[in-house]
Each structure stands twice: as structure tokens, then as C-alpha cells.
Symmetry: C2
Subunit: 305 residues, 2 copies
Amino acid sequence: MGSWLEGKTLANKIKEEVKDEVASYLKTIGQVPGLVGIRVGEDRASKVYLRTKERACEKLGIHSEILNFPEDISVSLLKSKIEQLSSREDVDGILIQLPLPSSFDSHEIITSMPPEKDVDGFHPFNLGNLLLKKDGVKPCTPLGIIELLKFRDISIEGKRVVIIGRSIMVGKPLAAMMTNENGTVTTCHTRTKNLPQVASEADILVAAIGRGTFITPEFVKPGAVVIDVGIDSLSDKSKVEELFGKDKKRQEDLEKKGYTIIGDVHPQVIEKAEYLTPVPGGVGLLTVAMLMKNTLEAFKRRRDL
Amino acid sequence: MGSWLEGKTLANKIKEEVKDEVASYLKTIGQVPGLVGIRVGEDRASKVYLRTKERACEKLGIHSEILNFPEDISVSLLKSKIEQLSSREDVDGILIQLPLPSSFDSHEIITSMPPEKDVDGFHPFNLGNLLLKKDGVKPCTPLGIIELLKFRDISIEGKRVVIIGRSIMVGKPLAAMMTNENGTVTTCHTRTKNLPQVASEADILVAAIGRGTFITPEFVKPGAVVIDVGIDSLSDKSKVEELFGKDKKRQEDLEKKGYTIIGDVHPQVIEKAEYLTPVPGGVGLLTVAMLMKNTLEAFKRRRDL
């Protein structure tokens, strides 16, 4: 029986550190980091995510704004808005909430901002520097995973790391970061054959596909560290009970919201793994903490602090 | 007993295509691509490599120049020379021959050129776009490997690919490209444990470490495709005979040059693999062909052709 590897302690620690540093810069130079979130259209999840980030900023003393544009804004107008933010002295971070409506090429929009203000780390210049193991902004979720492992003294060096999923938000940058940390990294995806067998070679297994409970114990080597990055929702009451028993929080979720959030990893995996990150309460908490840290770092880098 | 997977036929085909296209642009718009190679100091191998590239340009009708700077040139002067080339209309490709003398930060120098003229594909912006599976210049050697496999109808999709070596010239960009081609990719390096066992999981094994004959049959799954990217030299006559028997070309090398060029893969591997690329005569030939193609592509992209 393994242990739950929760994100809360580290996320709070990072946020406390950011808060203290922000407060000290306000005192010494009279400035605080500024983050602007951009949302296009009315995607409900995007609204929730941005609101979460805004609240985190408020708590840490980071100035934040959310710009909301209609779905039919022209590409050129959106880019000129980004250009305005790029030249604003008080804006350190620009966050384009994904996904953009399908009429936009998110690569084109992201590339239109200066890499040093791309606090999500999705600009090609930042991703290239990540591959090169050079300084630059790193994507928040993979960065949170690496920091969580380090925080819990789980060594990556020489370990076999299997990452399921090759998104630009998680899988691809995480593979580069794990390789830079001297892990032996395998990236799997929809075209991988014998996935359970490949996954069970891992000392550290990362699931980032967004298919609730897809990763069952047969994917897991006994004693492995399992990182669950997936987010899916489940509204079937009997299925929730089958997975989580009479878990009070889950029952409340069902009653209040009509669903509960689950990860890619089946809860039975805890019996086989050494560690498993819960969903919610695992790496998700670190993503927001890392965004705050990236914003502070951008603020410092731009001012040579 | 496997077959040798030579690079010559494809390299010649690519060069013929580039030559024809260059000739047709000369006819229609009166312009040809231009490539400028930069060498700093007196590294002998760099001299040879640049001369090889210059000769390839000459044969294909591409205009080429080599700028040679003394080892003690200042960083700012070198960067201003690169800036001049960046704004020259007739220069489509800038190639900074690596390694630079140790007093230079090659990342700083490479990043000082515009990504669209970086025909080696080592600029972070280009590497980021490679990770993102977007258009952009791709590093020549990995590109050559992918093209060789496609040319010989060796499918990558769903295959287990193991890459030994994580350099920015070969291993890292190749891992991204193989993942983009739907291979299940594992990257190994000096810190990998049980390397022969991990390597022998590969359907496609790529060795890019530069340690002559390091990859012996125990690293190879029967029937695997083995790509040898290593370049090493061997001058011990009895060792050469032990490896290659009375091979006439090798004997001549020893007599004329005092050494023969060998790869990372032990020649015995041919008995176990389905295919093995020879060294010399394998992927090395494709690297130069791809550089020519990248230069032509840069020329076309800059003119919207």
C-alpha cells in the first residue's frame, strides 16, 4: 500500500515565498509583478481557470487583470491588443487562456508575444531553451511535477520515466525536463503499442491524457511513483461509489455540482505504487503556484533583480 | 544477416533535386540561395567540415562564403558580423561551425542570428517549433535520419525507438521528430542504467555518442533497424583488421591518413540487425544534403516562393 503524494504543502510553501518576495519588492522598489490573462469567447472552463489564477494573484499581492474579448474578434485586433500589453512596463506576464476558439491559430497568437512575458512557457523560444537546458520560462505543470519530486526527495537521475501523453502543456516539455534531470525517458501516446507493458517499465510513471481511471494497476510496476496529471469528470453515482466507496467529499460533489473530478489513474493503483498524486489535490495545485512563481521570475528578470 | 542501409542514393537524389530547383530559380528570378559559414579559430575538423559544405554548395549552384575569424575576436564584434549577415538580402543561411572556442557561449552566438537564417536548426525558436510540430528549420542530421527511413519505407509509427545520446545536434531533436512521427521514443544517455537491456527493446536503435564500436550485438534486438550516427577514428592496425578483416578501403585509410573513420556500432551488429547504416557512407552523407535543402528552403521561405 503506497502513500498519497499531495501537492498542497509544496504549493503553499511556494505561494508563501512568492508572497513574501512580492511584499519585499513593494517595500524596496515600490513595484509588484503584473499578470494579464486573456480570454477569447465564453468557454466556461476557461472562465473558471482564469478566475482561480486571478484569486491566487490577489492573495499574493500580484497585480492582475483579465481581458475578455468576443469570439469574433479579428486576429489582427487580438494581436494588436497583445502588442499593447507587450510594451506596457507594468505587465510582466501575459497568459493566453487555452483553448482559443477554433478560428484562431493558438501558435500564431502565442508567438506574437515576447518570450520574456510568456509566463506559461509555451512560446517556441522558451520551449527551445528548455530543450537546450538554458534559462527561460518553463511550462507550469511539468515544472510543478519536477519540483514536487525534488521536494519529496524522489530522485529522477537514472530512473526510468514513462510519460503517457505528448501535449505541449505537459508531455513534451516534461520529457525534456526529465531528460535534463538525467532520467531515462520514454514518451507514449495513442499510437504506442502494448501500452500497459511499456508503462510498467517505469520507476516514475506520469499519466497526462485526460481519460478518467484509464491507468489501472496492470500499467504500474510495484513500487513505482505515479503522477496523475489527468482531469476528467464523473457524474455516474454508482461508478463513483465503486471507485471511491462512501467518500464524503465525492458524495458532496455529486450532490452540489452533479459530478466529481477524477484523474487518469484508477484509485486501486495506490495499492501497488509507492506514491500516487491524488486528483484533485495533487499536481493541479502546483500549476497555479508555478504560474505565480513564473510571473515573479519574469518581473525580476525584466528588472535585473 | 542484415543489409547495409547506405545514405548515398538518397543523398544524391536530394542534391540533384536541390540543384535542379536552384537552376530553375536562377532562370526565372535571377537569384540563387546564399550560405555563409562562420569559423572562429583554427580547429582543423571545423575547417574540413566547412570545406565539404562549401564544395557541396559549389556543385549545386548555391552561392557560398566562409568567414574565418581569429580565436580572440570579441563577442561583440562577432555578433555585429552576424548582424551584418542577418540584414544582407543575398544571405539565406548562416552556419556557425561548432564547436566554437571555449571562450564563447555558443547559445548566445546562435541566438543572435534570426531564426529564419539558422540553417542548422539550432536556434531555440526553431527547436521550439520542432517540439511544437510546427514549420521551421530542422537540424540536418536528425532530418536526414527521418528521410532515410521514409525513403526505404521503414515505418516509424508505433515502433519502439531508442536513441542513445541527448545532444542538441542529434539526440534531442531526433527524439522530438520521432515522437512527432508516432514512434514510442526512449532517450538514453550516460546516466541510463542497464543500457544494453534498454537498447535491446528498440525496433529502431539510434546511436549518437561518438564512442567507436561501443554498441555491440548485446545492445540489439534481432531484426532491429540500427542507425549509426557516431564518428570516431581508429589508428590501431590490428584492431582495424579484427573489426573489418582485410577491407581494402580501411587499409588504404591507415596507410594514407594513419586512421580510419568508425561509428558507434560494432560491425558484428550487421549479423543481428535487419538494417545497419555504415560509417562512413551512412547518415553523414545525408547531413550535408539536408543542409543544402535547408538553405534552399530558407531562400524560398524568405521570398514566399
